[in-house]
């Protein structure tokens, strides 16, 4: 058994605390916004220059001047402010965003992250990913546990070009959850998908990790 994408997103959403400013990456991380626990108020940031992202617009509300970092149409809220991209990345780089949830191709046991270059494909560029992992205080990665070929994505070392070094705090895969209290600590396995054992996870993981189930 493995967790669904929505279950993974919901698990990430449990890490949100009331009052947090949060940046959600493109793809599965965006789903986290659908699972914010009741009583927890978070403000979503989009690195192109929006603090306080609203939901997608209705057809009548679509405004070409309101798009998020994924270039999707979006709406504003009663808290929203717009800033330049320089000021937006000032928030990110300056550590004012508490949490970012991102996708990944590989994570290394030392917290290195690779998520911007697909081998053998045209390089599209890092976008804001390098800035986010370098600046946001806590980074949660959502990814499949193994790739299409069954190769572990949580590894001793990243084989792909890095997005950042020693930047990941928590990994949520479809099979397991790893986290560490500080960036000087090793990752610990803290949860597994239903029917999975710690040994099942060891069999599918290259990285060193401790167990804290």
């Amino acid at each position: 058994m493995s967790w669904t994408r929505d279950e993974m997103a919901a698990r990430a959403a449990r890490e949100l605390e009331d009052g947090f400013y949060v940046n959600l990456g493109i793809g599965i991380p965006t789903l986290v916004g659908n699972h914010i626990p009741p009583g927890v108020d978070v403000t979503l940031q989009s690195e192109n220059g929006i603090l306080g992202l609203g939901p997608f617009p209705t057809d009548a509300e679509v405004d070409a001047d309101i798009i998020n970092a994924g270039k999707q149409t979006i709406t504003e809220l009663d808290r929203t402010s717009y800033v330049s991209s320089a000021d937006s990345f000032g928030m990110i780089r300056g550590g004012h965003i508490q949490l970012s949830v991102l996708g990944a191709m590989e994570v290394a046991e030392n917290g290195d992250l690779a998520n911007w270059m697909v081998p053998g494909k045209m390089i599209k560029g890092p976008g804001g990913a390098m800035d986010l992992v370098a600046g946001v205080r806590r980074i949660i990665v959502l990814m499949d546990h193994v790739d299409k070929n069954g190769v572990a994505k949580f590894r001793k070392n990243c084989t792909l070009p890095l997005t950042g070094t020693n930047v990941v705090d928590m990994i949520i895969t479809n099979l397991a959850i790893f986290q560490r209290p500080t960036r000087q600590s090793p990752f610990r396995l803290v949860d597994v998908a239903p029917g999975m054992t710690a040994q099942d996870i060891r069999d599918r993981t290259e990285a060193y990790f401790e167990e804290a189930l």
Binding site: N48, I50, I67, S84, G128, L162, T165
Partner: protein, 235 residues
């Protein structure tokens, strides 16, 4: 007062263009891009351009139009994923690309405009982006030295502009435009609406007129949407 308003984009660019120049352009994706000025650049035939812009447009819109005509030699961008012609020219060696992380790119343009030739950032440390760049430790942490960018010409899109060159942007169409406006030796702005002196509130001007040498009314405001995402009902 020195006249800053020009009748159209061709007039506003007259005398400013030369082959192999560096042009910084505002916008994020297709949002807030100077559509009218890009079209005028295509018409001008200027070539060998180095273009500093977060993205490179799509195949038939935005900077993609200047790629199609092979007027761009090099892009300095953070992400160029939505453009097949870009990929073709890059893989065939016709086009050069310098990647800069998005926040670093924004800051490099702000720095260039503010007389700061270099600054340190943690972004990109330990990655390919840092290769060949100076690394310096501050308080036990390593940072990468990044350079300010100054362009020969900057082109921006604003919502409103007045005869003094004061600009106001609208919502997330602001994005890179304010920094782009500061980093050009000459900056030309196209505006959706020209307003009279004193019509912009002094506390609400995003780009003061000192940064804008020429402006004109935008005649292209298609504002194409890349990802039209909608919900069905009220929440």
């Amino acid at each position: 007062m020195a006249q800053k308003i020009y009748p159209d984009a061709a007039a506003a660019l007259d005398g400013l263009l030369r082959d192999d120049m560096v042009i910084a352009a505002g916008g994020f994706g297709l949002c807030g891009i100077p559509e009218t000025l890009i079209e005028a650049l295509v018409a001008s035939g200027v070539k060998g351009l180095t273009v500093v812009s977060n993205n490179a447009g799509v195949d038939d819109f935005g900077l993609g139009k200047l790629l199609r005509t092979h007027q761009i030699r090099k892009m300095i961008s953070s992400y160029v994923g939505e453009n097949k012609e870009f990929e073709r020219q890059f893989l065939s060696g016709e086009l050069e690309i310098e990647f800069s992380p998005q926040g670093t790119l924004a800051e490099r343009m702000r720095a260039g405009g503010a007389g700061i030739p270099g600054f340190y950032t943690r972004t990109g440390y330990g990655t390919q982006i840092a290769e060949g760049k100076e690394i310096k430790m501050f308080d036990g942490e390593n940072y990468v030295l990044e350079r300010g960018i100054v362009a020969d010409l900057s082109i921006v899109k604003a919502w409103k502009g007045d005869p003094y060159g004061n600009l106001v942007f609208r919502k997330s169409a602001r994005n890179f435009n304010p920094m782009v406006a500061t980093c050009g030796r000459v900056t030309v702005a196209e505006v959706e609406e020209l307003v009279g002196p004193g019509e912009l509130e002094p506390d609400q001007i995003h780009t003061p007129g000192v940064f804008v040498q020429r402006l004109m009314l935008a005649t292209r405001n298609e504002k194409r949407i890349e990802q039209r995402t909608i919900r069905q009902e009220a929440i």
